[in-house]
């Protein structure tokens, strides 16, 4: 589904290199965890996959479902099924959550040549997804993320994901800022979306989330490169030994 080859990325502003040759292949149905110390380039990788401006791909390629992902606009990528749950979801004052979700879903459907969802069908869909994720109606009435606590913002991201039903889910530190109960709810929501034709890339700093969302593959990102890959036991190893072997300080 996703094939990243020798990806080099630098910041447009100051030419600072952040990703230095990332290789990663993700097949449908798989869950990959990317772990790594702060500043190793995890969020940058997720932004480049989602299509954020400000980064320059200096080498390498990203193929998604057989297409050149890097050629597509962010909204095209979303319509093709790429979803990024942001590490820091931002507040959008004045844009109502329900309106936002409806425009997002119907824009994607239109782009895919599907018909728009009627308002009652849309309401039913959001309501059922919100119940599963314990997102209350009051949150849905507010502008997007405005006045949400850190945990509520993360849950709202997963709600968006559940409503939009993407093919490739990239979760950037969705676990940070969640207490154990919220973590469990979010993990259940994510697990409910696991399916043979959907893939997930779960970015996390801690092994804890992976107790709930069990990955097929674990990768360690350090200084902009994947330096080690393995099964779920690699996460436990990291939990025990920390990132000392991979961080700048150790080098």
């Amino acid at each position: 589904m996703l094939e990243i080859k020798n990806l080099h990325v630098s910041v447009e502003e100051d030419n600072k290199a952040i990703l230095n040759g990332v290789d990663l292949t993700v097949n449908a149905g798989e869950v990959h965890a990317i772990m790594g110390p702060n500043g190793s380039g995890k969020s940058t990788l997720s932004y480049v996959l989602a299509g954020k401006d400000g980064y320059e791909v200096t080498d390498g390629s990203v193929t998604y479902m057989g297409k050149d992902l890097l050629e597509m606009a962010p909204d095209e990528r979303a319509a093709e099924g790429v979803f990024l749950a942001f590490q820091y979801p931002i507040e959008i004052p004045g844009v109502a959550t329900m309106q936002f979700l409806k425009v997002a879903l119907n824009s994607q459907r239109l782009a895919r040549g599907e018909g728009e969802l009627s308002t009652p069908d849309f309401m039913r869909l959001v309501k059922s997804r919100a119940e599963t994720l314990k997102v209350n109606q009051d949150m849905l009435k507010r502008p997007v993320n405005v006045g949400f606590s850190g945990g509520e913002k993360k849950r709202a991201e997963i709600l968006q994901m559940a409503v939009l039903e993407p093919s490739l889910c990239i979760l950037d530190e969705t676990d940070s800022g969640l207490d154990i109960d919220a973590l469990r709810v979010v993990a259940e929501g994510v697990n409910a979306l696991r399916s043979p034709d959907r893939a997930m890339v779960v970015i996390t700093h801690y092994q804890r989330l992976l107790d709930y969302i069990v990955p097929d593959h674990v990768h360690v990102l350090s200084k902009g490169r994947i330096v080690k890959s393995g099964g779920k036991e690699l996460a436990q190893e990291l939990e025990k030994d920390g990132y000392a072997n991979y961080s700048d300080e150790a080098a």
């Binding site: 989602a50 606009a73 962010p74 909204d75 990528r77 942001f86 931002i90 997002a104 824009s107």
Partner: protein, 423 residues
């Protein structure tokens, strides 16, 4: 205020076109003319007019005129966005009362008269040392006089409609008075529409609120694209009164609108807010002077301004707190969103405070759309154009929250959305 040595074509046309007339307004017109004859049109060397040099901007002669409308007035009348919410209408076409397009409320507590139909003198307001007021007084042809008797309410909205459409260059001048006696309340809409040929529209509204009175006023400025819109709001507020004023400016090539709000009685609240939606080379210079003469009053001003293409928005807001006006709470803010690199916004906030126990502040921001917000929407599949529209609409709509009437807020949102859809 130097006497202009050489008269411009526009000034000459005004001076030569003067006719005091023989009605009850003759003496007022003469006062206005005398003031105008001294000052002429305002120009950039006058501090408050540095961004809007009318002597230069009004290049041609626009002689004072009345009536003689051309074009499809019915179509313009049908386009008035608030017409279905209003319960009474008073329509003026090219500065002339149009009885056929007016339906007045039938209530003895609500007095509504067109100035031209009044048989005796009505109080149209003291002269002010202001060029727009002088011109307006000199050439006023008609307008609405509304008086709500003490304790009664006219909350069913009354709409004043001004439609200007002329092939010949001309100036149309109207003057309105809204007088709410003690404890009275009213909702008044002002809708300014116009045809596409150039004209000057000069419209002044005098508001007098008695003690405990409340006025909700909503003005839509949708004048023709080639026109000049000059207008004043002058509001004198009694004690424990409330003024909620909102102006949406979308029309005209050049707009200068001014608000003079004076607190004369304690425990009064005034909110004066608005939005600009400007494109092409539209120019809107809005100036407000809020004068706290007495203690314990609250003033709020919020303007959300969107400028596209080469449009230019200006917000000049002055809050004066007199020595006696302790416990004044005055806040003013203007926020601009620039949608093109050639759009421009200038803000000149001024606080003039002579009392020591007050809470006053102002804030002005200007910038383009937040890239991070835009990316968030696009990452969810919303195409760029739609994502921008949603953010711009959300930006402007913040000012609509100052309008209490939900149906009016919906109309304002629709107007903003159709403006955005046409981008």
């Amino acid at each position: 205020m130097a006497i202009a040595t050489q008269k411009t074509a526009a000034e000459t046309a005004y001076l030569e076109g003067f006719d005091a007339g023989g009605d009850w307004l003759a003496a007022e017109r003469q006062k206005g003319f005398d003031a105008f004859a001294v000052t002429g049109l305002p120009h950039r060397r006058m501090e408050d007019w540095k961004w809007t040099d009318l002597r230069q901007l009004i290049g041609k002669a626009y002689p004072p005129a009345k009536g003689g409308a051309v074009g499809d007035i019915d179509a313009l009348a049908a386009k008035c966005p608030l017409k279905d919410i209003a319960r009474g209408h008073l329509t003026f076409v090219n500065g002339e009362y149009d009885a056929g397009r007016s339906q007045l409320p039938a209530s003895g507590d609500v007095e509504v008269t067109a100035l031209s139909t009044a048989s005796s003198a009505l109080p149209i307001g003291e002269t002010a040392a202001d060029p727009i007021d002088g011109l307006n007084r000199a050439y006023v042809t008609d307008g609405a006089f509304i008086r709500i008797k003490a304790g009664s309410n006219a909350d069913a909205p009354l709409e004043l409609v001004f439609i200007n459409s002329s092939r010949a260059e001309a100036t149309f001048t109207t003057r309105n008075v809204i007088e709410l006696e003690d404890g009275a309340s009213a909702t008044v809409f002002e809708t300014h529409m116009g045809g596409h040929d150039a004209y000057v529209s000069n419209s002044v509204t005098e508001v007098r609120l008695g003690n405990g009175a409340r006025l909700d006023r909503v003005k839509l400025q949708m004048e023709g694209a080639a026109s000049y819109h000059l207008s004043n709001l002058k509001a004198d507020l009694g004690a424990e009164a409330k003024l909620q004023d909102f102006t949406l400016t979308m029309g005209s090539a050049t707009t200068r609108q001014q608000g003079f709000i004076t607190f004369n009685g304690e425990h009064t609240d005034a909110t004066v807010s608005g939005a600009f939606l400007l494109n092409r080379k539209q120019h809107n210079d809005t100036r407000l002077v809020v004068d706290h003469k007495v203690p314990n009053c609250v003033s709020r001003e919020l303007f959300k301004c969107v400028m596209d293409d080469e449009a230019r928005g200006i917000f000049q807001g002055k809050v004066i707190v007199r020595q006696d006006a302790q416990k004044t709470d005055g806040k003013q803010s203007s926020h601009a969103l620039l949608l093109s690199p050639t759009a421009e916004f200038d803000a000149k906030p001024e606080l003039e405070i002579y009392a020591d126990d007050v809470v006053c502040g102002h804030g002005a921001t200007s910038g383009d759309l937040d890239e991070n917000l835009l990316f968030y929407l696009r990452a969810r599949g919303i195409p760029e154009k739609k994502a921008k529209s949603m953010l711009i609409s959300a930006f402007v709509a913040e000012s609509f929250d100052d309008v209490d009437n939900e149906a009016v807020r919906d109309v304002l949102k629709d107007l903003a959305d159709s403006w955005l859809a046409a981008r």
